[in-house]
Symmetry: C2
Subunit: 200 residues, 2 copies
């Protein structure tokens, strides 16, 4: 780090380097781009971050970040309140919304159970999910968790905790992704796709 | 883009995607990381950007970004004012400072001449450089510009413009980079390294 860049710029570079996908080098390039494009990028980004920090909160029902509480999805009476899709993070919720495949409500766990990282059930929004499932209006909980060890551990734990309620518990299908060539798929996916094969 | 993320978050994602090395996907991941780490990342980054926007200006002498004007390097009487190192951007200046190889002053052009991108001499801080070179105190101008077509075009143009002054014009040596294996070097570098070979 160059002492000559000044403490303000060094601090900015240090913070930018903490963003996922950024390192010390790309953070310097980003800081440089910000300094070059003051009106188009630096000032709008500063304002946007300040606005986000001031206005965006986690929805008290589902945990998704929004300026409203309950969030716009929880408040949307046009969506099926009998269906809850459980996701790890808001990123998965946004991906699901982009797909347009789901018209129910969501529940954002805020992470996954992980023995290695010491994440237990109390660190996630699991009791809130059980509470919602017990309310009576909920008919089905779709577990849309990643197909990783932690994701599947979490899914099993949730299915176990929810087994005492009346709701049906489902999870996303496993199989060959659209555009996926068998040559490039891992064995686990092929095994799952074969096991869950269906009439063409 | 998910409409459900809300206009504030969408705006933030759009701005983050404009940073170099970021795309729509990584910008979403970055926004998510910011929302998850509110106290450690979102609020400090908002404050740091606001501070940078408010305090950091281009030095009126050399063009480097700094909170002081003249910048800390231009104001440093311990550095050789007879030596000016010309760089494209502040990033190159920071790299030069990290190397510790130069103890003179700098001149930041703010870009390179480019016929393709329509960047002419008036768009760069070239007249300021000529002005500094004419002042009399300057003995040598080191052209530390990239070894690209635009970089070398700019270097030739500057050498031409400076030829009327008393200053000596030099440029960085070309050759095999430290740790560079010949196998992995491009032909142009090997040709230059061979041409500029020196007694071992």
């Amino acid at each position: 780090m160059a002492a000559s860049a000044g403490p303000e710029i060094e601090r900015l570079i240090g913070l930018l380097a903490k963003l996922p996908g950024m390192g010390p080098r790309s953070a310097r390039r980003a800081a440089l781009a910000l300094l070059k494009r003051r009106e188009q990028l630096l000032e709008p980004l500063a304002a946007s971050l300040a606005e986000t920090a001031a206005k965006v909160r986690s929805c008290s029902v589902c945990g998704a970040p929004d300026t409203r509480d309950p969030c716009s999805i929880c408040a949307d009476t046009g969506r099926d309140g009998g269906l809850i899709c459980v996701v790890e993070e808001a990123g998965a919720l946004w991906a699901m919304e982009r797909s347009g495949a789901f018209r129910g409500k969501y529940h954002v766990l805020g992470g996954l159970l992980s023995a290695l990282d010491g994440v237990g059930p109390e660190a996630l929004r699991i009791s809130e999910l059980i509470g919602r499932a017990r309310e009576g209006a909920v008919k089905e909980v779709v577990l849309a968790l990643p197909a990783t060890v932690d994701g599947q551990t979490t899914a099993h734990y949730l299915a176990d905790r929810l087994s005492g309620t009346e709701v049906q518990i489902t999870s996303l299908a496993r199989g060959v992704p659209v555009g996926g060539e068998l040559d490039w798929l891992d064995d686990g996916t092929i095994v799952q796709a074969m096991r869950q094969r269906r009439p063409a």
